[in-house]
Symmetry: C2
Subunit: 278 residues, 2 copies
Protein backbone atom coordinates (compact mmCIF):
# COMPACT_ATOMS: atom_id res chain seq x y z
CA UNK A 1 0.00 0.00 0.00
CA UNK A 2 1.41 3.36 -1.05
CA UNK A 3 2.08 5.90 1.67
CA UNK A 4 -0.78 8.23 2.48
CA UNK A 5 -3.27 6.55 0.19
CA UNK A 6 -6.86 6.67 1.35
CA UNK A 7 -7.27 4.09 4.10
CA UNK A 8 -10.11 1.93 2.81
CA UNK A 9 -9.40 -0.51 5.60
CA UNK A 10 -10.11 2.13 8.23
CA UNK A 11 -13.79 2.96 8.13
CA UNK A 12 -13.85 6.47 9.53
CA UNK A 13 -11.67 5.42 12.44
CA UNK A 14 -9.61 8.54 12.13
CA UNK A 15 -12.12 11.30 12.41
CA UNK A 16 -11.09 11.50 16.00
CA UNK A 17 -7.51 12.34 15.18
CA UNK A 18 -8.07 15.95 14.26
CA UNK A 19 -5.77 18.00 16.46
CA UNK A 20 -6.45 21.17 18.38
CA UNK A 21 -6.09 23.88 15.76
CA UNK A 22 -5.13 27.42 16.74
CA UNK A 23 -7.40 28.61 13.93
CA UNK A 24 -9.69 26.93 11.41
CA UNK A 25 -8.28 24.96 8.49
CA UNK A 26 -8.80 26.33 4.99
CA UNK A 27 -11.44 24.42 3.10
CA UNK A 28 -9.90 21.99 0.65
CA UNK A 29 -10.91 18.58 -0.61
CA UNK A 30 -7.86 16.46 -1.41
CA UNK A 31 -8.19 12.80 -0.48
CA UNK A 32 -5.36 13.27 1.99
CA UNK A 33 -7.20 15.90 3.97
CA UNK A 34 -7.94 15.12 7.57
CA UNK A 35 -11.55 15.17 8.70
CA UNK A 36 -12.51 18.22 10.72
CA UNK A 37 -14.10 16.67 13.78
CA UNK A 38 -12.32 17.85 16.90
CA UNK A 39 -13.34 15.38 19.54
CA UNK A 40 -9.75 15.14 20.65
CA UNK A 41 -8.76 16.73 23.96
CA UNK A 42 -6.94 20.01 23.50
CA UNK A 43 -4.03 21.41 25.46
CA UNK A 44 -0.23 21.55 25.37
CA UNK A 45 1.79 18.59 24.06
CA UNK A 46 2.90 16.26 26.79
CA UNK A 47 6.59 15.59 27.07
CA UNK A 48 7.56 11.93 26.95
CA UNK A 49 8.76 10.05 30.00
CA UNK A 50 11.84 7.81 30.01
CA UNK A 51 12.54 5.36 28.53
CA UNK A 52 9.14 4.68 27.00
CA UNK A 53 6.90 7.31 25.49
CA UNK A 54 3.85 8.47 27.31
CA UNK A 55 0.63 8.52 25.34
CA UNK A 56 -1.46 11.63 25.30
CA UNK A 57 -4.21 11.74 27.88
CA UNK A 58 -7.11 9.85 26.35
CA UNK A 59 -10.34 8.09 27.25
CA UNK A 60 -11.01 4.37 27.76
CA UNK A 61 -9.22 2.18 25.23
CA UNK A 62 -9.72 -1.13 23.50
CA UNK A 63 -7.40 -3.74 25.05
CA UNK A 64 -5.80 -4.11 21.63
CA UNK A 65 -4.26 -0.65 21.96
CA UNK A 66 -4.32 0.09 25.69
CA UNK A 67 -1.13 -1.88 26.34
CA UNK A 68 0.84 -0.47 23.44
CA UNK A 69 4.03 1.41 24.30
CA UNK A 70 6.50 3.09 21.98
CA UNK A 71 10.21 3.93 22.14
CA UNK A 72 11.74 6.66 20.02
CA UNK A 73 14.82 5.49 18.12
CA UNK A 74 17.92 7.70 17.78
CA UNK A 75 16.74 9.59 20.83
CA UNK A 76 20.23 11.00 21.62
CA UNK A 77 20.46 12.44 18.11
CA UNK A 78 16.99 13.96 18.34
CA UNK A 79 17.95 15.53 21.66
CA UNK A 80 21.14 16.96 20.22
CA UNK A 81 19.13 18.61 17.44
CA UNK A 82 16.39 19.72 19.81
CA UNK A 83 18.90 21.42 22.06
CA UNK A 84 19.98 23.62 19.12
CA UNK A 85 16.41 24.07 17.87
CA UNK A 86 15.66 21.50 15.19
CA UNK A 87 14.96 22.77 11.67
CA UNK A 88 13.40 20.69 8.91
CA UNK A 89 13.61 21.72 5.27
CA UNK A 90 10.38 21.96 3.30
CA UNK A 91 10.49 22.10 -0.50
CA UNK A 92 7.98 22.17 -3.32
CA UNK A 93 8.85 18.59 -4.32
CA UNK A 94 8.91 17.33 -0.73
CA UNK A 95 11.90 16.78 1.56
CA UNK A 96 12.54 13.86 3.89
CA UNK A 97 12.97 14.50 7.57
CA UNK A 98 16.33 14.10 9.20
CA UNK A 99 16.58 12.54 11.68
CA UNK A 100 14.01 10.06 10.40
CA UNK A 101 11.15 9.37 12.80
CA UNK A 102 11.62 5.76 13.92
CA UNK A 103 10.05 3.83 16.78
CA UNK A 104 10.18 0.48 18.48
CA UNK A 105 6.73 -0.80 19.44
CA UNK A 106 5.74 -3.05 22.32
CA UNK A 107 2.51 -4.50 23.65
CA UNK A 108 0.49 -5.00 20.50
CA UNK A 109 -1.73 -8.02 19.98
CA UNK A 110 0.41 -10.11 17.62
CA UNK A 111 -2.57 -11.36 15.64
CA UNK A 112 -4.51 -8.10 15.39
CA UNK A 113 -4.29 -5.66 12.49
CA UNK A 114 -2.96 -2.17 13.06
CA UNK A 115 -2.35 0.90 10.95
CA UNK A 116 0.45 3.28 11.94
CA UNK A 117 0.44 6.91 10.95
CA UNK A 118 1.86 10.33 11.68
CA UNK A 119 0.62 13.86 11.59
CA UNK A 120 2.01 17.25 12.54
CA UNK A 121 0.34 19.84 14.71
CA UNK A 122 1.29 23.50 15.10
CA UNK A 123 3.06 24.12 18.39
CA UNK A 124 1.63 27.60 18.59
CA UNK A 125 -0.06 30.23 16.42
CA UNK A 126 3.09 32.21 15.72
CA UNK A 127 5.34 32.92 12.80
CA UNK A 128 9.06 33.11 13.49
CA UNK A 129 12.18 34.64 12.03
CA UNK A 130 15.81 33.99 12.84
CA UNK A 131 18.03 36.80 14.06
CA UNK A 132 21.46 35.95 12.70
CA UNK A 133 23.29 38.51 14.82
CA UNK A 134 21.96 37.05 18.07
CA UNK A 135 21.59 33.49 16.73
CA UNK A 136 18.07 33.32 18.11
CA UNK A 137 14.53 32.74 16.93
CA UNK A 138 12.17 35.67 17.35
CA UNK A 139 8.41 35.83 17.10
CA UNK A 140 7.57 37.54 13.80
CA UNK A 141 3.82 37.76 14.19
CA UNK A 142 0.71 35.65 14.10
CA UNK A 143 0.72 32.34 12.26
CA UNK A 144 -0.13 32.19 8.57
CA UNK A 145 -3.37 30.39 7.65
CA UNK A 146 -3.06 26.74 8.64
CA UNK A 147 -2.09 24.24 5.97
CA UNK A 148 -4.31 21.27 5.01
CA UNK A 149 -4.00 18.82 7.91
CA UNK A 150 -2.79 15.69 6.21
CA UNK A 151 -1.77 12.39 7.76
CA UNK A 152 0.92 10.00 6.59
CA UNK A 153 0.11 6.29 6.82
CA UNK A 154 3.10 4.05 7.19
CA UNK A 155 3.23 2.29 3.80
CA UNK A 156 3.12 -1.17 5.42
CA UNK A 157 -0.28 -0.41 6.96
CA UNK A 158 -2.29 -2.36 7.72
CA UNK A 159 -0.24 -5.18 9.20
CA UNK A 160 -0.34 -7.58 12.12
CA UNK A 161 1.01 -6.53 15.51
CA UNK A 162 3.67 -9.23 15.21
CA UNK A 163 4.89 -7.62 11.99
CA UNK A 164 5.12 -4.11 13.49
CA UNK A 165 6.87 -5.35 16.63
CA UNK A 166 9.37 -7.53 14.75
CA UNK A 167 11.71 -4.64 14.07
CA UNK A 168 12.07 -0.86 14.16
CA UNK A 169 9.32 0.97 12.30
CA UNK A 170 10.75 3.74 10.14
CA UNK A 171 8.83 6.62 8.57
CA UNK A 172 11.52 7.15 5.98
CA UNK A 173 9.10 7.67 3.10
CA UNK A 174 7.50 10.68 4.74
CA UNK A 175 8.18 14.01 3.03
CA UNK A 176 7.50 17.59 4.03
CA UNK A 177 6.41 20.25 1.58
CA UNK A 178 5.40 23.91 1.62
CA UNK A 179 3.30 23.49 -1.51
CA UNK A 180 -0.33 24.04 -0.56
CA UNK A 181 -1.40 22.42 -3.83
CA UNK A 182 0.77 19.34 -3.32
CA UNK A 183 -0.49 16.41 -5.29
CA UNK A 184 1.77 13.69 -3.91
CA UNK A 185 0.25 13.16 -0.50
CA UNK A 186 3.11 14.84 1.32
CA UNK A 187 2.72 16.59 4.63
CA UNK A 188 2.09 20.30 4.06
CA UNK A 189 3.62 22.75 6.53
CA UNK A 190 4.13 26.49 6.76
CA UNK A 191 7.74 27.59 6.63
CA UNK A 192 8.96 29.56 9.66
CA UNK A 193 6.36 27.85 11.87
CA UNK A 194 6.91 25.36 14.68
CA UNK A 195 5.46 21.83 14.60
CA UNK A 196 5.08 18.78 16.78
CA UNK A 197 5.10 15.36 15.07
CA UNK A 198 2.58 12.86 16.45
CA UNK A 199 2.50 9.10 16.10
CA UNK A 200 -0.77 7.14 16.08
CA UNK A 201 -1.40 3.43 16.51
CA UNK A 202 -4.80 2.42 15.17
CA UNK A 203 -6.36 -0.98 15.78
CA UNK A 204 -8.21 -2.08 12.65
CA UNK A 205 -11.46 -3.19 14.22
CA UNK A 206 -13.03 -6.12 12.34
CA UNK A 207 -16.50 -5.30 13.69
CA UNK A 208 -19.05 -4.05 11.19
CA UNK A 209 -19.84 -0.91 13.17
CA UNK A 210 -16.20 -0.17 13.94
CA UNK A 211 -16.76 3.53 13.35
CA UNK A 212 -18.65 3.65 16.63
CA UNK A 213 -15.53 2.49 18.47
CA UNK A 214 -13.05 4.72 16.65
CA UNK A 215 -12.36 6.67 19.82
CA UNK A 216 -11.31 3.54 21.71
CA UNK A 217 -9.31 1.93 18.95
CA UNK A 218 -6.33 4.23 18.65
CA UNK A 219 -3.56 5.49 20.86
CA UNK A 220 -1.37 8.51 20.15
CA UNK A 221 2.20 9.29 21.16
CA UNK A 222 4.09 12.55 21.25
CA UNK A 223 7.84 12.95 21.63
CA UNK A 224 8.63 16.53 22.55
CA UNK A 225 12.24 16.13 21.42
CA UNK A 226 11.05 15.73 17.81
CA UNK A 227 9.49 19.18 17.52
CA UNK A 228 10.99 21.46 14.90
CA UNK A 229 10.75 24.65 12.89
CA UNK A 230 9.91 24.23 9.20
CA UNK A 231 12.27 26.25 6.98
CA UNK A 232 13.05 26.58 3.29
CA UNK A 233 16.74 27.12 4.08
CA UNK A 234 18.60 26.41 7.28
CA UNK A 235 18.83 29.41 9.58
CA UNK A 236 20.99 28.22 12.47
CA UNK A 237 24.43 27.32 11.14
CA UNK A 238 24.97 24.84 13.98
CA UNK A 239 21.92 22.90 12.79
CA UNK A 240 23.43 22.79 9.30
CA UNK A 241 26.69 21.46 10.71
CA UNK A 242 24.93 18.79 12.78
CA UNK A 243 22.92 17.66 9.74
CA UNK A 244 26.11 17.42 7.68
CA UNK A 245 27.86 15.54 10.46
CA UNK A 246 25.07 13.03 11.03
CA UNK A 247 23.28 12.52 7.69
CA UNK A 248 25.14 10.09 5.36
CA UNK A 249 23.67 11.80 2.30
CA UNK A 250 25.32 15.07 3.26
CA UNK A 251 28.76 13.48 3.56
CA UNK A 252 29.90 15.48 0.56
CA UNK A 253 29.92 18.61 2.68
CA UNK A 254 32.09 17.28 5.45
CA UNK A 255 35.56 18.77 5.80
CA UNK A 256 38.31 16.16 6.23
CA UNK A 257 38.63 16.97 9.89
CA UNK A 258 41.39 19.54 10.41
CA UNK A 259 42.68 19.48 6.85
CA UNK A 260 42.03 22.81 5.22
CA UNK A 261 42.09 21.21 1.79
CA UNK A 262 40.38 21.96 -0.54
CA UNK A 263 41.47 25.59 -0.39
CA UNK A 264 39.11 27.03 -2.99
CA UNK A 265 35.30 26.82 -2.88
CA UNK A 266 34.22 23.57 -4.49
CA UNK A 267 32.37 25.19 -7.35
CA UNK A 268 35.59 26.92 -8.47
CA UNK A 269 37.44 23.63 -8.54
CA UNK A 270 35.06 21.89 -10.92
CA UNK A 271 33.89 22.40 -14.47
CA UNK A 272 31.69 25.50 -14.29
CA UNK A 273 29.37 25.13 -17.29
CA UNK A 274 26.95 22.38 -18.15
CA UNK A 275 24.88 22.10 -21.31
CA UNK A 276 21.21 22.61 -20.55
CA UNK A 277 19.39 19.89 -22.48
CA UNK A 278 15.71 20.10 -23.41
Amino acid sequence: MPASSPAAFLPASLGVLAPPEPHPLPETSSSWERPRATLFPSGPCTSSAEPVAQPMGQGPKNPCVSGVTVQLEMKPLWEEFNQLGTEMIVTKAGRKMFPTFQVKILGMDSLADYALLMDFIPLDDKRYRYAFHSSAWLVAGKADPATPGRVHFHPDSPAKGAQWMRQIVSFDKLKLTNNLLDDNGHIILNSMHRYQPRFHVVFVDPRKDSARYAQENFKSFVFAETQFTAVTAYQNHRITQLKIASNPFAKGFRESDLDSWPVAPRHLLSIPARSRSS
Copy 2:
Protein backbone atom coordinates in the same frame (compact mmCIF):
# COMPACT_ATOMS: atom_id res chain seq x y z
CA MET B 1 5.60 -7.18 4.91
CA PRO B 2 8.99 -8.24 3.64
CA ALA B 3 9.13 -10.41 0.55
CA SER B 4 9.00 -14.14 1.16
CA SER B 5 8.43 -13.91 4.88
CA PRO B 6 6.33 -16.68 6.35
CA ALA B 7 2.72 -15.96 5.53
CA ALA B 8 1.02 -15.93 8.89
CA PHE B 9 -2.12 -14.64 7.26
CA LEU B 10 -2.36 -17.73 5.07
CA PRO B 11 -3.16 -20.68 7.30
CA ALA B 12 -1.83 -23.60 5.29
CA SER B 13 -3.54 -22.33 2.18
CA LEU B 14 -0.50 -23.04 0.08
CA GLY B 15 0.18 -26.68 0.67
CA VAL B 16 -1.63 -27.26 -2.57
CA LEU B 17 0.86 -25.24 -4.56
CA ALA B 18 3.61 -27.83 -4.65
CA PRO B 19 4.39 -28.50 -8.30
CA PRO B 20 4.99 -31.75 -10.10
CA GLU B 21 8.61 -32.57 -9.33
CA PRO B 22 10.68 -34.68 -11.73
CA HIS B 23 12.48 -36.08 -8.70
CA PRO B 24 12.21 -35.63 -4.94
CA LEU B 25 13.35 -32.43 -3.26
CA PRO B 26 16.36 -32.61 -0.93
CA GLU B 27 15.33 -32.44 2.70
CA THR B 28 15.86 -28.98 4.14
CA SER B 29 14.05 -26.94 6.71
CA SER B 30 14.26 -23.23 5.92
CA SER B 31 11.13 -21.25 6.66
CA TRP B 32 10.85 -20.49 2.96
CA GLU B 33 10.58 -24.12 1.95
CA ARG B 34 7.47 -25.15 0.17
CA PRO B 35 5.35 -27.92 1.68
CA ARG B 36 5.70 -31.25 -0.09
CA ALA B 37 2.06 -32.16 -0.64
CA THR B 38 1.47 -32.77 -4.33
CA LEU B 39 -2.28 -32.51 -4.67
CA PHE B 40 -1.78 -30.34 -7.71
CA PRO B 41 -2.50 -31.85 -11.13
CA SER B 42 0.66 -32.85 -12.97
CA GLY B 43 1.48 -32.48 -16.66
CA PRO B 44 3.13 -30.08 -19.09
CA CYS B 45 2.84 -26.30 -18.61
CA THR B 46 0.00 -24.79 -20.57
CA SER B 47 0.84 -22.03 -22.96
CA SER B 48 -1.10 -18.82 -22.45
CA ALA B 49 -3.81 -17.68 -24.81
CA GLU B 50 -4.11 -14.14 -26.15
CA PRO B 51 -4.50 -11.51 -24.84
CA VAL B 52 -5.30 -12.74 -21.36
CA ALA B 53 -3.49 -15.57 -19.63
CA GLN B 54 -5.13 -18.91 -19.27
CA PRO B 55 -5.06 -20.45 -15.82
CA MET B 56 -3.80 -23.97 -15.38
CA GLY B 57 -6.51 -26.63 -15.42
CA GLN B 58 -7.87 -26.75 -11.88
CA GLY B 59 -10.86 -27.90 -9.89
CA PRO B 60 -13.87 -25.92 -8.70
CA LYS B 61 -12.97 -22.47 -7.44
CA ASN B 62 -14.22 -19.96 -4.90
CA PRO B 63 -16.03 -17.12 -6.72
CA CYS B 64 -13.43 -14.75 -5.25
CA VAL B 65 -10.79 -16.24 -7.53
CA SER B 66 -12.72 -17.96 -10.29
CA GLY B 67 -13.22 -14.74 -12.24
CA VAL B 68 -9.65 -13.50 -11.93
CA THR B 69 -7.72 -13.00 -15.16
CA VAL B 70 -4.16 -11.83 -15.64
CA GLN B 71 -2.27 -10.04 -18.42
CA LEU B 72 1.50 -10.28 -18.74
CA GLU B 73 3.16 -6.87 -19.08
CA MET B 74 6.04 -6.29 -21.52
CA LYS B 75 4.85 -9.29 -23.45
CA PRO B 76 6.63 -8.25 -26.68
CA LEU B 77 9.94 -8.01 -24.82
CA TRP B 78 9.42 -11.39 -23.18
CA GLU B 79 8.69 -12.88 -26.59
CA GLU B 80 11.80 -11.35 -28.08
CA PHE B 81 13.89 -12.94 -25.34
CA ASN B 82 12.02 -16.22 -25.53
CA GLN B 83 12.66 -16.46 -29.25
CA LEU B 84 16.41 -16.36 -28.56
CA GLY B 85 16.14 -18.60 -25.51
CA THR B 86 15.88 -16.50 -22.38
CA GLU B 87 18.70 -16.74 -19.85
CA MET B 88 18.53 -15.46 -16.27
CA ILE B 89 21.65 -14.91 -14.18
CA VAL B 90 21.80 -16.58 -10.78
CA THR B 91 24.39 -15.42 -8.24
CA LYS B 92 25.27 -16.22 -4.67
CA ALA B 93 23.93 -12.88 -3.47
CA GLY B 94 20.79 -13.08 -5.63
CA ARG B 95 20.11 -11.46 -9.00
CA LYS B 96 16.95 -9.73 -10.17
CA MET B 97 15.15 -11.04 -13.22
CA PHE B 98 15.15 -9.08 -16.42
CA PRO B 99 12.64 -8.62 -17.84
CA THR B 100 10.82 -8.18 -14.54
CA PHE B 101 7.70 -10.30 -14.15
CA GLN B 102 4.80 -7.84 -14.15
CA VAL B 103 1.08 -8.41 -14.54
CA LYS B 104 -2.17 -6.53 -14.81
CA ILE B 105 -4.97 -8.20 -12.84
CA LEU B 106 -8.69 -8.17 -13.54
CA GLY B 107 -11.77 -9.70 -11.94
CA MET B 108 -10.85 -9.68 -8.26
CA ASP B 109 -13.36 -8.88 -5.56
CA SER B 110 -12.37 -5.31 -4.70
CA LEU B 111 -13.07 -5.78 -1.00
CA ALA B 112 -11.52 -9.22 -0.53
CA ASP B 113 -7.97 -9.87 0.63
CA TYR B 114 -5.52 -11.59 -1.69
CA ALA B 115 -1.92 -12.67 -1.54
CA LEU B 116 0.11 -12.79 -4.76
CA LEU B 117 3.12 -15.02 -5.14
CA MET B 118 5.44 -16.67 -7.61
CA ASP B 119 7.31 -19.90 -7.79
CA PHE B 120 9.47 -21.63 -10.38
CA ILE B 121 9.12 -25.18 -11.58
CA PRO B 122 11.64 -27.23 -13.59
CA LEU B 123 10.59 -27.49 -17.21
CA ASP B 124 12.18 -30.92 -17.48
CA ASP B 125 14.63 -33.17 -15.65
CA LYS B 126 17.63 -32.27 -17.80
CA ARG B 127 20.87 -30.40 -17.43
CA TYR B 128 22.00 -28.30 -20.39
CA ARG B 129 25.16 -26.90 -21.86
CA TYR B 130 25.62 -24.31 -24.57
CA ALA B 131 27.53 -25.19 -27.74
CA PHE B 132 29.17 -21.96 -28.75
CA HIS B 133 30.19 -23.18 -32.22
CA SER B 134 26.60 -24.03 -33.16
CA SER B 135 25.01 -21.41 -30.89
CA ALA B 136 22.64 -23.99 -29.51
CA TRP B 137 21.66 -25.53 -26.21
CA LEU B 138 22.38 -29.24 -25.87
CA VAL B 139 21.20 -31.72 -23.29
CA ALA B 140 24.12 -32.45 -20.99
CA GLY B 141 22.56 -35.16 -18.89
CA LYS B 142 20.01 -35.70 -16.15
CA ALA B 143 19.04 -32.83 -13.88
CA ASP B 144 20.99 -32.12 -10.70
CA PRO B 145 19.15 -32.71 -7.42
CA ALA B 146 16.24 -30.30 -7.21
CA THR B 147 16.69 -27.09 -5.23
CA PRO B 148 14.52 -26.20 -2.24
CA GLY B 149 11.16 -25.19 -3.70
CA ARG B 150 10.67 -21.72 -2.38
CA VAL B 151 7.90 -19.26 -3.11
CA HIS B 152 8.14 -15.48 -3.35
CA PHE B 153 5.25 -13.51 -1.88
CA HIS B 154 4.70 -10.13 -3.39
CA PRO B 155 5.78 -7.78 -0.59
CA ASP B 156 2.43 -5.96 -0.61
CA SER B 157 0.62 -9.19 0.30
CA PRO B 158 -1.94 -9.36 1.68
CA ALA B 159 -3.94 -6.54 0.14
CA LYS B 160 -7.45 -5.86 -1.12
CA GLY B 161 -8.43 -6.75 -4.67
CA ALA B 162 -8.96 -3.06 -5.36
CA GLN B 163 -5.36 -2.37 -4.39
CA TRP B 164 -3.94 -5.10 -6.65
CA MET B 165 -6.09 -4.08 -9.61
CA ARG B 166 -5.32 -0.37 -9.25
CA GLN B 167 -2.08 -0.63 -11.18
CA ILE B 168 0.47 -3.03 -12.63
CA VAL B 169 1.80 -5.52 -10.08
CA SER B 170 5.57 -5.84 -10.34
CA PHE B 171 7.72 -8.59 -8.85
CA ASP B 172 10.81 -6.41 -8.97
CA LYS B 173 12.05 -7.44 -5.52
CA LEU B 174 12.36 -11.09 -6.53
CA LYS B 175 15.90 -12.41 -6.78
CA LEU B 176 17.34 -15.65 -8.12
CA THR B 177 20.25 -17.44 -6.49
CA ASN B 178 22.22 -20.65 -6.97
CA ASN B 179 23.15 -20.76 -3.28
CA LEU B 180 21.47 -23.80 -1.75
CA LEU B 181 22.11 -22.36 1.71
CA ASP B 182 20.62 -18.97 0.85
CA ASP B 183 19.48 -17.14 3.94
CA ASN B 184 17.68 -14.23 2.33
CA GLY B 185 14.54 -15.93 1.10
CA HIS B 186 15.57 -15.75 -2.53
CA ILE B 187 14.44 -18.26 -5.12
CA ILE B 188 16.99 -21.06 -5.42
CA LEU B 189 17.59 -22.51 -8.88
CA ASN B 190 20.10 -24.86 -10.51
CA SER B 191 22.32 -23.22 -13.08
CA MET B 192 22.11 -24.73 -16.57
CA HIS B 193 18.55 -25.93 -15.93
CA ARG B 194 15.32 -24.70 -17.49
CA TYR B 195 12.50 -23.18 -15.43
CA GLN B 196 8.94 -22.00 -15.80
CA PRO B 197 7.80 -19.10 -13.58
CA ARG B 198 4.30 -19.46 -12.16
CA PHE B 199 2.04 -16.78 -10.74
CA HIS B 200 -0.51 -17.54 -8.00
CA VAL B 201 -3.47 -15.52 -6.79
CA VAL B 202 -4.59 -16.63 -3.33
CA PHE B 203 -7.81 -15.48 -1.74
CA VAL B 204 -7.27 -14.96 1.99
CA ASP B 205 -10.27 -16.80 3.33
CA PRO B 206 -11.59 -15.19 6.54
CA ARG B 207 -13.29 -18.45 7.61
CA LYS B 208 -11.84 -20.20 10.64
CA ASP B 209 -11.37 -23.50 8.82
CA SER B 210 -9.96 -21.86 5.70
CA ALA B 211 -7.36 -24.62 5.36
CA ARG B 212 -10.14 -26.95 4.25
CA TYR B 213 -10.88 -24.69 1.29
CA ALA B 214 -7.28 -24.05 0.28
CA GLN B 215 -7.77 -25.94 -2.96
CA GLU B 216 -10.63 -23.66 -4.02
CA ASN B 217 -9.13 -20.38 -2.90
CA PHE B 218 -6.25 -19.94 -5.32
CA LYS B 219 -5.78 -19.69 -9.04
CA SER B 220 -2.47 -20.16 -10.87
CA PHE B 221 -1.23 -18.67 -14.12
CA VAL B 222 1.58 -19.73 -16.40
CA PHE B 223 3.06 -17.68 -19.22
CA ALA B 224 5.13 -19.93 -21.45
CA GLU B 225 7.01 -16.95 -22.89
CA THR B 226 8.60 -16.32 -19.49
CA GLN B 227 10.45 -19.63 -19.30
CA PHE B 228 14.22 -19.42 -19.13
CA THR B 229 17.51 -21.17 -18.52
CA ALA B 230 19.29 -20.28 -15.28
CA VAL B 231 22.97 -19.45 -15.86
CA THR B 232 25.87 -18.02 -13.89
CA ALA B 233 27.16 -16.23 -16.99
CA TYR B 234 25.36 -15.52 -20.24
CA GLN B 235 25.94 -18.15 -22.89
CA ASN B 236 24.12 -16.82 -25.94
CA HIS B 237 25.74 -13.55 -27.00
CA ARG B 238 22.48 -12.36 -28.57
CA ILE B 239 20.79 -12.65 -25.18
CA THR B 240 23.56 -10.50 -23.70
CA GLN B 241 23.06 -7.90 -26.40
CA LEU B 242 19.29 -7.84 -25.90
CA LYS B 243 19.71 -7.43 -22.14
CA ILE B 244 22.14 -4.55 -22.70
CA ALA B 245 19.80 -2.96 -25.22
CA SER B 246 16.70 -3.21 -23.04
CA ASN B 247 17.82 -2.98 -19.40
CA PRO B 248 18.45 0.63 -18.26
CA PHE B 249 20.98 -0.56 -15.68
CA ALA B 250 23.15 -2.06 -18.42
CA LYS B 251 23.26 1.19 -20.37
CA GLY B 252 26.97 1.45 -19.63
CA PHE B 253 27.63 -1.37 -22.04
CA ARG B 254 25.81 0.12 -25.00
CA GLU B 255 27.92 1.23 -27.93
CA SER B 256 26.95 4.65 -29.28
CA ASP B 257 25.19 3.05 -32.23
CA LEU B 258 27.56 2.94 -35.20
CA ASP B 259 30.33 4.96 -33.59
CA SER B 260 33.34 2.76 -33.05
CA TRP B 261 34.50 5.00 -30.22
CA PRO B 262 35.87 4.09 -27.73
CA VAL B 263 38.55 2.22 -29.64
CA ALA B 264 40.28 0.56 -26.71
CA PRO B 265 38.64 -1.75 -24.16
CA ARG B 266 37.13 0.35 -21.40
CA HIS B 267 39.38 -1.00 -18.68
CA LEU B 268 42.43 0.25 -20.58
CA LEU B 269 40.98 3.73 -20.84
CA SER B 270 40.43 4.20 -17.13
CA ILE B 271 42.63 4.40 -14.09
CA PRO B 272 43.80 0.80 -13.58
CA ALA B 273 44.53 0.73 -9.85
CA ARG B 274 42.23 1.47 -6.95
CA SER B 275 43.25 1.75 -3.33
CA ARG B 276 41.74 -1.09 -1.31
CA SER B 277 40.58 0.55 1.91
CA SER B 278 40.03 -1.43 5.11
